[in-house]
Symmetry: C2
Subunit: 344 residues, 2 copies
């Protein structure tokens, strides 16, 4: 099925004018007589003329659209971040093209190639859990392509980055559990390749240390797919509960880890927080309705999306190369509920 839209040429032919005149009339140029303008404008209106954005992109060498690569949009944190991205992009007249890596490195590379071949003016990315090698991004960045990282960043690439204070988030969560009497606190961590996993682990560890609790190697388990696959959470938790000294509390380092953790305990009839307390990173809107209601570390996802987009557009619209990159760190928010209640 062909959808042939009207062009400036069609208008010119119909009205016996040149394309230049029509173009100028449509852009309200002073060089065109009011009569001609009126004629052109009316004809364009009647025939639903819309400038072809593709032709404009070709001429202007910009598409006025930005690409976004995240692991999953069906993840509260990312869908909220995307809302933030969209809110800014929309205001500035940019289109947003979203791709999902589904936590796969291979897919991330494909998405990147797809997007970067000049159909987007810049990229916002939160790397996949599998990604260890950042050379695909590095290469693009070196050739001057605008890239801004948010949440999961590539430390080796020197550009704008927007993250939450993951150290503080994990520190505060762990500290809160300690204050509530828990002593054997485990860390259910995401992919070891991710910057956020390391930062969160460091916060967790520092809180233990500051409270005089020695770090126990068997109290950390990594989930390569960040909790996307239930079995990997199941295995990790099986390991925890089969320890002689089973943990009495868990700090989960990602959204899916937190909820799948709860699902595991429910399945195994392990009571939260009586048998084991739970506190995790999550941006779900429903954590207050869960059973038990979940104590969480919440990230300002919407704001992160907004700030990252502002930085990207700034990069895109800058006349000269930018070397002064920003590293924005936003505060997380602790929301205390039932799952981390004081030990009785």
């Amino acid at each position: 099925m062909k959808f042939e839209a009207i062009t400036i040429k069609d208008i010119a032919k119909a009205l016996g004018l040149s394309t230049s005149t029509v173009s100028r009339a449509l852009r309200d140029s002073y060089e065109i007589s009011p009569a001609t303008k009126k004629q052109v404008l009316e004809y364009a209106e009647q025939n639903h003329y819309r400038p072809n954005p593709i032709a404009l992109s070709l001429k202007e060498k910009r598409s006025r659209s930005i690409g976004v690569i995240v692991c999953e949009i069906a993840n509260s944190f990312f869908s909220q971040a995307i809302n933030g991205i969209e809110s800014i992009a929309y205001d500035k007249g940019y289109n947003v093209i979203i791709s999902q890596s589904h936590e796969s490195y291979e897919r991330e590379v494909i998405d990147l190639n797809y997007l970067s071949s000049r159909s987007i003016d810049g990229l916002l990315i939160s790397v996949s859990a599998e990604t260890e090698d950042f050379s695909h991004l590095q290469a693009l960045h070196e050739r001057g392509f605008p890239i801004v990282f948010f949440d999961r960043v590539a430390e080796s690439i020197h550009t704008h980055k927007v993250i939450v204070d993951n150290f503080k988030g994990a520190y505060d969560a762990t500290d809160h559990l300690l204050k509530n009497g828990y002593r054997r606190i485990a860390n259910l961590a995401g992919s070891p390749h991710l910057s956020i996993t390391k930062e969160r682990f460091n916060g967790y560890r520092q809180a233990l240390e500051n409270n005089g609790i020695p770090f126990n190697e068997s109290y950390i388990e990594y989930c390569l797919h960040g909790g996307m696959v239930y079995e990997e959470v199941e295995n990790a938790l099986n390991n925890f509960i089969s320890l002689e000294k089973m943990p009495d509390a868990i700090v989960a380092s990602a959204d899916k880890l937190t909820t799948n953790c709860l699902r595991y305990f429910k399945t195994k009839h392990i009571k939260v927080p009586d048998d084991v307390a739970l506190m995790g990173f999550s941006n779900l809107d429903l954590t207050d309705l869960l059973s038990p209601s979940l104590s969480v570390v919440r990230q300002p996802a919407f704001e992160m999306g907004q700030i990252a987009t502002e930085l990207l557009l700034q990069l895109i619209e800058s006349k000269r190369p930018v070397y002064d990159f920003q590293y924005k760190v936003l505060p997380p928010e602790l929301m205390i509920r039932e799952s981390s209640m004081k030990i009785s």
Copy 2:
């Protein structure tokens, strides 16, 4: 910051060839000598040459991208549907551009104008809760632009549509509540403009009728924003509980209605299902972890996205106008849990 990518012209100039030769060499044409091909291919590889998709779009009069308009991506049903859309589009080499209407008619019109001005080859849409007037879509459709509706359809527009059997979903949910002993069943409905709201209401009403229960006008409340705004759910439920004969069960017709309903009851310390049972449409992955766990009508969102996309691509790639449109109705799935337990 400018990102100037290499073009076929640059290669031609560097190698002392014409652009035609370079183009043909890159496409492995038989007309080009092996030596030249090798030279061109190597130079292109070294300099990261990628064909400019915008130039190709201009020439081929197609962008190989499709637009999607939904109310919110931060909604399980839609994010799952988008995953389905993406899975098919990706396989067929199409880009997906997502826009959110945020349940606003005005925003939907803007999104549509933005997308339709030839930067997309076709559109998948689930209309906003506010939308009563479909002329913006009608106009586009009449001019031959490929459109496929899913979930929330415009009845008056004759094109492919993919929905779930909303009547059956609501019928079965209501019937289930009746079988479990509930008699005063209310319907917390979404926007009265939406096709799905009407279909679900009809299912609800028919189930009552078939079980010999008269329909009570005060047992239906509409929420114009489909539950997006908590206050509107609050008002509706305030009306229900202030009735002399308060409902003993509620059928909620949308995701946000269902969860906000639960939130309301939790806030008011109304016990579910002891004081009032709850059953709703929802595609959340966490309904089993809520307190109480929720009985829901689940839609095959992923499959809906896939089917809608297949139909759209079929429309886009069809050589001649299509007049034989499909109306796919998929079965919903009832998931029974605690919130609709048998009356004791």
